[in-house]
């Protein structure tokens, strides 16, 4: 397998030649900068994507938690999240490979919008698969993709969410593989996707590692990132992996409970690294939320972007080898994290990133003196959800908004 016991290429035979072609392209263009691929990628991420993103000292969080807290500001990337790092890399790679068409899955719509933006920017026809349920609850993202000229294909199978969208995109790919590149949205899927996506996202930790040394004079004690599929996680951790004194903490969505309800075929969480078991999903051996029989269960998190029953195989490996510490915080803690960062720092984080902040708030004592937290995206997309979910709860950090309920 690719990463210790994890990874691999568990896909239909029809896709294997495409994976080999992709592996070849990955080695030539990404690893060896053939035809100046990586130069062009970096230039476009600078001019189009807005990189580098700042590493900001969070003055008020630092004061509150009595340690130095730095925020890696991926929320400032074009499109509002780290997602573009990968989407632009893959669409550009597809162009170098001579592909004529891009497909991608999307859950909440973040990866879909990033891919649609990248495809518009690079003039590639693009189709996005999205579950019907997700379409209905994430309409603004659907519109953004349409505005960028991408087709959005509703997937009605199953619960109509991310898992089904991935299945359907794989089916499209199995049909059109000769002319089409599938832009997978996280460090998941068959080899070489987990490595390639990680390498595109590793710019986060490349920048952060330099920035923290410039600004704080040393490497951090703790690096914290939320983990769903794991692309911002691996991006944030990658360059720090060899730094053995740096704790790497992956914060998963604890949802409402860490138990799996096999009867209902539901895990009311997405804490795959913390509670999952080994298995194969979407092309890779990794940790999964599954029933004893091997059926994949529906995951759940208040954050749509973490709501996935699998996780990147490299993360499974890094957890298995004790290099990464998996932790989880529940929906309440994430919502508190959302409000805390919004209120104290003037940064409205994505609900995904709010899990990382929620962890810092809740388990402050587990942190070292110098902490880097990845703010993987901005939270504008989550306002409605946060309002609804906040109303149901009694949250310490939430503001009162009832004056506007007329």
């Amino acid at each position: 397998a690719t990463f210790g016991d994890y990874g691999g290429q568990y896909v239909p035979e029809a896709l294997m030649p495409a994976l080999q072609e992709l592996e070849d392209a990955y080695e030539r263009y990404v690893l060896n900068n053939e035809d100046g691929f990586m130069d062009e990628f970096r230039e476009r991420m600078r001019d189009f994507g807005g990189r580098p993103t700042p590493l900001q000292r969070a003055d008020r969080l630092s004061e509150r938690y009595d340690r130095e807290i730095y925020l890696k500001r991926e929320d400032l990337v074009h499109g509002g999240a780290h997602k573009l790092n990968n989407a632009l890399g893959q669409v550009l790679l597809a162009k170098y490979m001579g592909k004529e068409r891009i497909i991608a899955e999307t859950g909440a719509g973040q990866h879909g919008t990033a891919t649609a933006m990248a495809a518009a920017h690079l003039d590639m026809p693009c189709e996005i698969y999205m579950g019907r349920t997700d379409i209905n609850r994430q309409r603004p993202n659907v519109y953004r993709m349409r505005m960028n000229g991408a087709a959005v294909n509703p997937v009605t199978a199953g619960s109509g969410t991310l898992k089904e969208a991935i299945n359907e995109t794989m089916r499209d790919w199995a049909t059109t593989v000769e002319t089409t590149h599938y832009v997978i949205g996280s460090v998941v899927g068959p080899h070489p996707f987990p490595k390639m996506v990680r390498d595109f996202q590793a710019v986060i930790s490349q920048e952060a590692r330099e920035q923290i040394q410039d600004q704080a004079g040393r490497l951090p004690d703790t690096v914290v990132a939320c983990a769903g599929g794991g692309s911002n996680t691996m991006g944030t951790f990658h360059e720090f992996v060899p730094d053995e004194d740096v704790d790497l903490v992956a914060v998963e969505a604890g949802g409402s409970s860490l138990e799996i309800d096999e009867e209902a075929n539901l895990a009311p969480n997405s804490a795959t690294l913390s509670t999952g078991t080994d298995g194969v999903l979407h092309g890779a051996m990794t940790k999964l939320l599954q029933s004893g029989d091997g059926q994949i269960v529906e995951s759940h998190s208040v954050s749509a972007g973490l709501d996935y029953a699998g996780v990147g195989p490299e993360l499974s490996h890094l957890v298995a080898t004790d290099r990464v510490t998996p932790v989880s915080v529940d929906d309440d803690a994430a919502l508190n994290g959302f409000h805390r960062l919004s209120n104290l720092e003037g940064i409205i984080p994505a609900l995904e990133s709010s899990h990382a902040i929620g962890y810092v708030e809740k388990y402050t004592d587990d942190l070292g003196d110098l902490v880097v937290v990845n703010v993987s995206g901005r939270g504008d997309k989550d306002l409605e959800t946060v309002l609804e979910e906040t109303e149901k709860r009694d949250l310490e950090a939430a503001p009162d908004v009832e004056v506007f309920e007329q």
């Binding site: 896909v11 239909p12 035979e13 294997m16 298995g279 194969v280 979407h282 599954q290 091997g294």
Partner: protein, 311 residues
């Protein structure tokens, strides 16, 4: 498959039906594979697929028996997995019905235990279902139980040759075939490698994409069969085969068998009562078998429903 195990298996000279009875293998077929034997002896062979548990395991038992009667030479039984990425809408829906009905691997094996068909049975499922059977992520408990239930082989659409070693070893150990799929994109060195490891038969994927009944036979089928003509292994074509005429065309193009699934699943979904489904499945299998034989140049009376015969 290691050469050692192939040699070991070739030393045997009988084949086992799903009823557990050993049958002698005719001299000219040098194989200990029930599956390969079933194809070779019944050429042109009809391989049929339905999803176990759709709409219930009780119904599946009757449907399998109908397919057996109708002339199936091999029967694939789908063990439902929640993420069937290789299936089109028809089989996805069947799998969902089966899961909703509470179909489990244990129930599946109980069904196979009960079945007594002349045609050998294969299980078609996804790799995670194999892995999770038993206490840990390990393929062996599943294969052991499959052998015990009398299954003759496995088809795992998300398991390419590169990842197949553990399962192949377990299959070898228990005398089961692990059937590989050859896709339209499988060419050159890859094709060589896969064909050198074929066990049972080569599942020739008729077209890119997913399973599902189609209105015609794809050009890719002809290309693939041409590409495979030099290999002396049974070749059965699936993905999109739904009518007797398709079967005829495919056999005429050089295949040793045809594989039909979605067209049969459609019948099950359409039938209001089990008995109706049973009758239509048996008739459909017969139509397909007739088509296959027509493609092989045999004189087939359209009115005559052929009974598969023991050679």
């Amino acid at each position: 498959m290691s050469d050692e195990s192939r040699a070991e298996r070739e030393s045997r000279k009988t084949r086992t039906g799903s009823d557990g009875q050993e049958r002698p293998v005719s001299d000219e077929i040098e194989t200990d594979s029930d599956i390969e034997t079933a194809i070779r002896e019944n050429e042109p062979a009809l391989i049929t697929y339905i999803t176990a548990g759709d709409p219930s395991l009780e119904d599946t038992k009757e449907y399998v028996e109908a397919l057996d009667r109708g002339g199936s030479d091999l029967i694939e039984l789908g063990l439902p997995f929640s993420e069937p990425i290789a299936e089109g809408p028809t089989i996805q829906a069947a799998i969902n019905r089966a899961l909703d009905a509470g179909t489990t691997p244990e129930g599946f094996f109980d069904l196979v235990d009960d079945l007594e068909t002349e045609a050998p049975l294969l299980v078609m499922t996804y790799y995670n279902m194999i892995l999770q059977y038993g206490d840990e992520a390990d393929v062996r408990p599943f294969v052991e139980r499959a052998a015990e239930a009398g299954l003759s082989g496995l088809i795992i659409p998300d398991l390419p040759a590169e990842e197949a070693d553990p399962l192949r070893e377990a299959c070898d150990e228990h005398g089961l075939d692990l059937v590989f799929i050859v896709a339209p994109t499988t060419e050159g060195e890859r094709l060589e490698t896969i064909m050198s490891q074929v066990s049972g038969f080569a599942y020739v994927q008729a077209r890119l994409g997913t399973t599902g009944a189609r209105a015609n036979v794809s050009g890719a089928t002809h290309d693939s069969l041409t590409r495979l003509s030099e290999y002396d292994v049974p070749k059965a074509v699936g993905f999109g085969v739904s009518e007797g005429d398709h079967a005829a065309e495919i056999i005429e193009a050089g295949a040793d068998g045809v594989i039909v699934g979605s067209a049969l699943v459609d019948i099950i979904a359409d039938s209001e009562e089990t008995t109706e489904g049973v009758d239509r499945l048996e008739a459909k299998a017969a139509e397909l078998k007739r088509g296959a034989r027509r493609g092989a140049g045999e004189a087939v009376d359209a009115e005559d429903v052929p009974e598969p015969e023991q050679p």
